[in-house]
Structures are given as C-alpha cells and as structure tokens.
C-alpha cells in the first residue's frame, strides 16, 4: 500500500488547548533524569527570566503526539499504524514551554513519499499559545513499513 501524495498541504483543525502543568514538567524531567533546578523549582526558572518551571527540549512531544497521531489515523490517508516506525523528529523553538502555558496544536502534512516499498509522511505541528503566540514548531516523519 502506498501513501497518497495528494495529501501534501492538507491542514487539520487546531486541537483543544493543552494546559501545561508544573507537576507534569517535573514528572517528565524526572523521567529523563534532567535535574537542572529550572525544571523543578519555579524560583530557579524565574532567575532565568521564565514565569515558571521550564520544560526540557523534547517535552512538546507530549502535546503534539495526539495531533500527529490524529493525522496518521486519518482514515482517508489509510496508514496502518501497526506498521509505523518513527523516522525523524525536529523542534524549532521560539521559546521554551513553561508551566502555565495553554497550548494549541495546528498540523499540516508537509511531505508524502513512497520509496522502496515504504511510505514516508512528514507532518509539521505549530504549537502556539491560546493567544496565538508561537512557541515551537515540531516536525515528525513516520515510516510506514511495506509488507515484507
């Protein structure tokens, strides 16, 4: 099965706002062993000029995963999710995510290709505050493995 290149450029409606909690950032930082006080202590984060604890660089995936999965599971696109592996991941930050942010994800299919029996799907998710301030852009490429 190959992926339909005519899906390039398709956009998906923004997700419901995600409320970034201080304890969620602490939990995520602890899970990856990130001990910098700015991830855990609001005073340490404020000393760096942030309003509350700062999320580690890959934290946005917690928020964007649902958005990119929504695309991969779009029945019109026809991805077999059991054959999906993660290809590439990239983040471009306007600023770090901080506790207290209310974030909305808007996704676009940026590229679709088929090579060597495998399908490749690149999505871009723009993460903004509910007020529209850009925070981070997230690219994710998945590989849909062909039937061997």
């Amino acid at each position: 099965m190959s992926l339909d290149p005519s899906f390039v450029g398709r956009t998906y409606p923004p997700t419901a706002p995600y409320q970034v909690g201080r304890e969620k950032i602490r939990e995520f930082a602890t899970a990856i062993g990130a001990t910098d006080p700015a991830h855990h202590d609001p005073a340490a984060a404020r000393a760096l000029g942030h309003p509350d604890v700062v999320a580690p660089p890959t934290f946005p995936v917690v928020i964007t995963m649902a958005a990119s999965r929504q695309i991969a599971e779009d029945p019109a696109l026809g991805v077999d999710y059991s054959r999906v592996v993660h290809g590439d991941q990239r983040f471009a930050y306007t600023r770090p995510v901080v506790a207290g942010d209310e974030l909305v994800c808007a996704s676009t299919i940026e590229d679709v290709s088929n090579r060597g029996g495998h399908g490749f799907l690149t999505t871009r998710t723009d993460v903004r505050t509910v007020a529209g301030e850009p925070v981070v852009a997230v690219w994710s490429k998945i590989v849909v493995r062909g039937e061997a």
Binding site: T58, V61, P96
Partner: protein
C-alpha cells in the same frame, strides 16, 4: 572542538517511567511478547526517550536548560533494552560545527549503543549568549 562524552544507562524501569511521563504506551517499549511478535529482538527504548537523553546532554553542555533553539534527529537503529538490572548504555558525543556571529552554536551529535550509531543527522543549535 569535541565536547566531553556523556553516558546514560537505560533500564526497563526507565522505559516504564518514560512511558508514563510521556503518555506513549506502545507495548514495544514494555512487552517482550509484543515486541518479538512484530519482529523486534525484544523491548526497545522509545526513540523519543533516546532523543530526550541526547537533549539532556545538549542542555548540560550548554550549561542552560533553556538554551536549545533547534534540535533534530533521525532514528536509524533501535535501542534494545534487556530485562535485567544493568539494561544498556547510550553514549553521546558532539562536535561544534559552527559558531555564528549572532551567538548561536551548532552541534553535530553522535549517539551510540553497543558501538552502533542509533541516530543520524542529530543536530542541535544552542544559544550561547544570553
């Protein structure tokens, strides 16, 4: 310039903790039965967990938790995590590729497990002036 190598131990307990914290409960990251059924050698680490550990190395090298302005990787090889107390190890090194006039430092990062590269095109840009 080469930055000092960092080594991260990864055990099954780390994967379970990461699954809970990230919300990624794909059974290939905790069930050998499921992982082997889909053709993997066993339970593998979340690619995003490896990327998070490398991100930690980058922020530690930068000396600031909020210094990363761009960060991307390609996942090339799974990190197999055996069900024992030692788990496995990921070693992370980097070289400075470029320092720009506007205070950005671009790093080329290498992450290996058992001597094999697990990421390709791993690049991070950090702000080195505040």
């Amino acid at each position: 310039m080469e930055l000092p190598a960092k080594t991260f131990q990864v055990t099954r307990a780390d994967l379970v903790r990461y699954a809970g914290a990230s919300g990624d409960f794909n059974p290939i990251h905790w069930s050998d039965r499921f992982a082997t059924k889909v053709g993997l050698p066993g339970v593998i680490a979340h690619g995003m967990f490896t990327m998070a550990l490398v991100g930690r190395a980058v922020t530690e090298w930068a000396g600031a938790p909020d210094a990363v302005v761009e960060y991307g990787v390609r996942f090339t090889r799974p990190v197999v995590v055996p069900d024992d107390d030692q788990g496995t190890e990921i070693e992370v090194t980097a070289v400075v590729r470029e320092v720009t006039e506007d205070g950005l430092t671009r790093l080329d990062v290498t992450a290996t497990c058992l001597g094999e590269k697990v990421l390709a095109q791993a690049r991070a840009t950090i702000r080195t002036t505040r």
